[in-house]
Amino acid sequence: MDTTPVSPTRSRTRAAWAVPAAAVVAVAAAFAAPPLLASAAPDGLPEVTAEELVARVLEAEPQALSGTVVHTARLGLPDLSMTQVAGADPVSLLGGSTTLRVWTDGEQRSRVSLLGTASEYSVVADGTQAWTYSSSDDEVVHYAMSPQDAARAQELKATATPPADLPTPDELGRQALDRAQEHATVGVDAATTVAGRDAYQVVVTPRSTTTLVGRVVVAVDAQTWTPLRVQVWSSDDAATPALELGFTDVTFAVPDDAVLTFSPPPGAAVREVLVPLPDDASLAQAAPDDLPTSLPTDPSEVPLPEGVTVTGTGWDTIVQLSGVDAAALLAGDPAAVADLPRVDKQFGSEGAQELYEQFAPEGDGPPIDLDTAALYEQLTSPVEGGRALSSTLLSVLVLDDGRVLVGAVPVDALRAAARA
């Protein structure tokens, strides 16, 4: 206790220093309060069952919206720190937090921008064509169909009539739920708030104890039934989700036209990629007249392409590809990637164009980035007979004999499957 008499100057000094103390408290409160308020659990939402919820989501019309999405991956992969060095790049989605902006009119047109410090990677889709634009190398990639294919796609779309016995969303929802419940328990968790909106939560918990996936939680907007957040939890880590993709703010309104249109900026290098539309025969095969009125109940019923085998069931499924020449793919061997499209690179300056033409390889091989091989080396670690990528949710085993095994199980399980 202070027993000495307080002198007027001392009390003035104290009063003066109380001002910064108050400022600290006020500033801290101003920054801490909004997130706390935003995460408050909503009340007054009517109860729903998992079945109703799934049906509502399937029934919901696609919404026109614009918003900010944060993607966080804690996959336990080596740190790549790509955005700092190379600018916004989809590779950055493999680790850490990435912010994306999303705009869609709920129909044909949308834009997704991956934000980096002072850089951006945009994907703009408009019906049958799409553009990607990377601000760090000022390159546009234009994906489009040939005019004939585009016309055919429009025609197919116009003539396509939904089969009369198309399952209703309720039925489809129940089927999806039944299917999910074969290998997992599906429940509804307490309502939450995502991006300031009330949301229901569906929790899917695998029954298997050997899979790396602990549970999947989807938060669904209570008004529009639009999924607002997906969290995938690893069985290794109960504290934080291994993968999280969710809106931090969202507005349900048709975005501005300027956002949804794209024309290549002057001076940018434009790469044209022709996307082939499968011919009528294979289209007919893909969508047979007797459209399945139920989801396939057994994975073995689905026809598999050659060289692909599936073992295990449910969440322990392991997909095996054979005859993959990983080394040739990484080296950009034209034979290994023969089907990849031709490149036509243009530069702003004439001198640069000449230099490029002088030194660019004559062959038609696509320019595989030099760091693809380095990236592969960095992500995978050597194991007996090949290399393995191990993350908190997914494992990949690349064997020297050309087999590639992928599954949501530990690497050891993949190796056991490879030996079998």
Binding site: V27, A118, Y133, E350, A352
Partner: protein, 284 residues
């Protein structure tokens, strides 16, 4: 600790005269002019180098924005600010704001200033204004020289945004002006920090160095994922959010967040500087 003297008698117009003399001092001091000229050299040097090298096959390469300068002179402003923001600008601003009070104390002129019939709080505000004007002048020096050099060397035209959208020149100029204003306002927190350190010591170099160290430590912490939880509150964390101005739809939320953090630093360190300066013994 005792207060040095009773508050002086207040005279009408004394603050105005003090502001005028402070601004003349800050902008007229030879060292400060040299600092401004040094900053202005950055866009000039960058522009000339890019102009001479534009046909060397390296066009379109380099750090963000630098690659785009040859296509549009407006980007010289943005590229120069991008290059100066991490270190050169904080250094210059640290020197000016760290010197504000400590400089007067070290030359023994602070006690004469306190005789001016103006309250200490107001004297501090005048000093803060001087430091802020210098910070603004530093950013403007880069921007104006960048604009002139960019227009002269490469010409200006429609601006291609980071999102790949091209906007008309008038819109582009507005967006670049927005970048300049945002960078200027982003420096206010550092000015407040410098002012506080300046009230602590009579050794101006100490205050200057401490201010620059705060900026450097802040950007180092910003790189460490282990302290990600404090990143949003760091002084330097939002400095590069000026890029928001060059996206197809600038997010007001992101810009407001950056400015709010600066306002927080200004509030805390401004209050600290005020508490220190109004209660300190001034003996020199």
């Amino acid at each position: 600790m005792s207060l040095a003297d009773t508050a002086p008698v207040h005279h009408r117009g004394a603050t105005g005269r003090l502001v005028r003399s402070e601004l003349a001092l800050v902008l007229g001091r030879r060292r400060n002019v040299v600092l401004l000229v040094g900053l202005a050299m950055v866009p000039l040097l960058l522009g000339v180098v890019l102009y001479l090298a534009q046909d060397a096959g390296l066009a379109g390469q380099g750090p963000p924005f630098v690659a785009r300068v040859t296509g549009n002179g407006l980007f010289l402003v943005v590229a120069s600010l991008f290059l100066c923001t991490p270190f050169l600008l904080p250094l210059t601003i640290g020197i000016a704001s760290g010197d504000a009070i400590a400089g007067e104390a070290s030359t023994g002129t602070l006690r004469y200033l306190l005789v001016v019939p103006v309250a200490r709080g107001r004297l501090l505000a005048v000093k803060a204004l001087g430091a802020l004007v210098f910070a603004g002048a530093a950013v403007l020096a880069i921007a104006v020289v960048g604009l002139v050099a960019g227009a002269a060397l490469f010409g200006v035209g429609d601006l291609t945004l980071l999102s790949g959208t091209t906007v008309p020149l008038a819109d582009g100029v507005l967006r670049v002006a927005g970048v300049v204003v945002y960078v200027g306002l982003s420096m206010t927190g550092l000015v407040a920090v410098g002012l506080f350190f300046s009230t602590l010591t009579e050794v101006p170099v100490g205050a200057m160095a401490a201010t620059v160290v705060v900026a450097v430590v802040s950007s180092v912490l910003d790189q460490l994922p282990q302290v990600a939880v404090i990143h949003p509150a760091l002084l330097t964390h939002h400095w590069f959010d000026f890029a928001e101005m060059l996206r197809v739809v600038p997010s007001a939320d992101v810009l407001a967040q950056g400015l709010a953090v600066q306002a927080g630093w200004v509030a805390v360190f401004g209050a600290l500087a005020w508490a220190r300066f109004t209660t300190a013994d001034v003996s020199s």
